[in-house]
């Protein structure tokens, strides 16, 4: 049976689909967070160099991953919206931005907490930290531009252009620890090599990232639903919805 995927690119049907999916993702995310935090605090062994302080890795690394992934996904949806003129894709891009900015901030914040005991400083002007900070600025610029434009369609397209221009920063962040000799350590986890850390630590970290993914999807769906309602407030189906409620 062929599934008509395009059905869900119309805001009303996406609205109801998202409404059904949100509880699923929220519950999965809560369960995974609980499991990940349990492993992080009680199961994972104490690091012989960094003692207990390393445990912040369980939120720091997933947050940093999410900050980059979400930017790419946001730019991807924005590009689809720009190229095919689909309303929903642009709405999703708009919905992703605050969550992405939150994770970027979280990565910087937890990084500062980690840096203080390990490097002896809250902040260094190292390539990875700086480029992550630029990422935060890019998210803020995207949101500020969209907020300044009253016409939602123009806001979508203008945001798409600035998001796509900003994509150049992502490889810079990712490879910064390879290209420059910096204080921030290199990647410990990669797809091609066996991980350079204890298995329980890795499991905890992966579960936490999965939890962050689920959380992001749930929050983004909620925000998309709000944006849909806001933009479609003058349509029949929204007033029907209000009548039913």
């Amino acid at each position: 049976m062929a599934i008509n995927w395009f059905k869900y690119s119309s805001p009303p049907s996406f609205y109801s689909l998202a409404g059904k999916m949100i509880p699923l993702f929220s519950i999965t995310s809560i369960v995974l967070f609980a499991l990940g935090l349990y492993i992080g605090f009680f199961v994972a062994p104490t690091d012989f160099q960094q003692s207990e302080a390393y445990r912040i890795i369980f939120i720091h690394v997933p947050a940093a991953w999410m900050s980059m992934f979400l930017y790419l996904i946001m730019a991807g949806w924005a590009a689809i919206g720009l190229a095919f003129n689909t309303r929903l894709s642009s709405m999703i891009a708009t919905a992703i931005a605050p969550t992405g900015a939150m994770f970027t901030f979280l990565a910087l914040w937890t990084g500062a907490f980690w840096g203080k005991p390990m490097w002896g400083t809250w902040w260094v002007w190292d390539a990875r930290l700086t480029s992550e900070l630029i990422l935060l600025f890019l998210y803020i610029g995207f949101m500020a531009l969209q907020a300044a434009i009253d016409d939602p369609r123009r806001a979508d397209k203008a945001g798409a252009v600035i998001a796509l221009v900003g994509v150049v920063n992502i490889p810079i962040i990712y490879f910064s620890v390879k290209w420059w000799n910096t204080l921030h350590q290199g990647a410990t986890v990669s797809l091609t090599q066996s991980p350079k850390m204890a298995t329980t630590m890795l499991t905890g970290m992966l579960i936490m990232s999965l939890a962050c993914w689920m959380y992001s999807i749930a929050v983004i769906l909620m925000r998309t639903r709000t944006i849909i309602l806001e933009r479609e407030r003058n349509t029949m189906w929204v007033s029907d919805l209000q009548g039913a409620a």
Partner: protein, 219 residues
């Protein structure tokens, strides 16, 4: 048509010389504020001179971005340009180059004089000028995207800084880095090559992105 846009923008700039000079004096004043703010310690000034000059150049170039499209937007010339059969990105490239000739080149030429105030060596002054000559066209080109996106928006001036300054950061790092490297004796060629690479990349992509942005803004 490309040359026509450049000639026209230069002519307009010459008719309103005050605007051009304001940007230049803004640059000079910002640079002169730093020794007053941090104190006249000559070794410290020498160390921070490249960064200070470059940050001031970034700000000066950004402040004049609004002029790139705004007056044409107000009197309707821009809409006519959009209708013309010439590719819009070519026209944008012309406008960005004119912006560079009016703001970037004067900045680069006056920078050595400011560098002398900071006690930079002759070599460092030459590298400073070279890096500014290579770097400021990138600022104009990237700035064109920001200026096109914020065209006619309320609070456009502040917004453009939020959009454009993060994208200026690589230029700042390698521009100022070139001067620092040469004054330490490492040679500036690596930094200057990277600036050149940025320039080529932005020459190809920025006019195109700015043209897309202009069409969105004038829809």
């Amino acid at each position: 048509m490309f040359l026509w846009v450049i000639r026209r923008d230069l002519l307009l700039a010459m008719r309103q010389r005050a605007d051009v000079l304001t940007t230049l004096f803004f640059f000079v004043i910002v640079v002169s504020l730093f020794p007053l703010g941090v104190g006249p310690e000559i070794n410290m000034l020498r160390a921070m001179a490249p960064g200070v000059v470059w940050v001031a150049a970034l700000l000066a170039s950004m402040l004049s971005l609004e002029r790139m499209f705004f007056s044409d937007y107000l009197d309707g010339t821009l809409e006519q340009m959009l209708l013309s059969p010439e590719p819009l990105s070519l026209l944008v490239l012309g406008k960005a180059l004119a912006h560079w000739l009016v703001t970037g080149v004067p900045l680069a030429l006056i920078a050595p004089i400011l560098g002398v105030q900071f006690d930079l060596s002759i070599d460092a002054l030459l590298v400073l000028t070279a890096s500014l000559l290579l770097g400021t066209p990138i600022l104009s080109l990237i700035g064109a995207i920001g200026a096109a996106l914020t065209l006619g928006l309320r609070g456009g001036g502040v917004l453009v800084s939020l959009l454009v300054l993060p994208l200026y950061i690589p230029v700042l790092i390698f521009g100022a880095g070139a001067v620092e490297a040469s004054s330490v004796g490492l040679g500036a060629s690596a930094h200057l090559s990277l600036l050149g690479a940025f320039l080529l990349l932005s020459l190809v992509f920025a006019p195109w992105a700015a043209a897309v942005a202009l069409r969105i803004s004038l829809e």
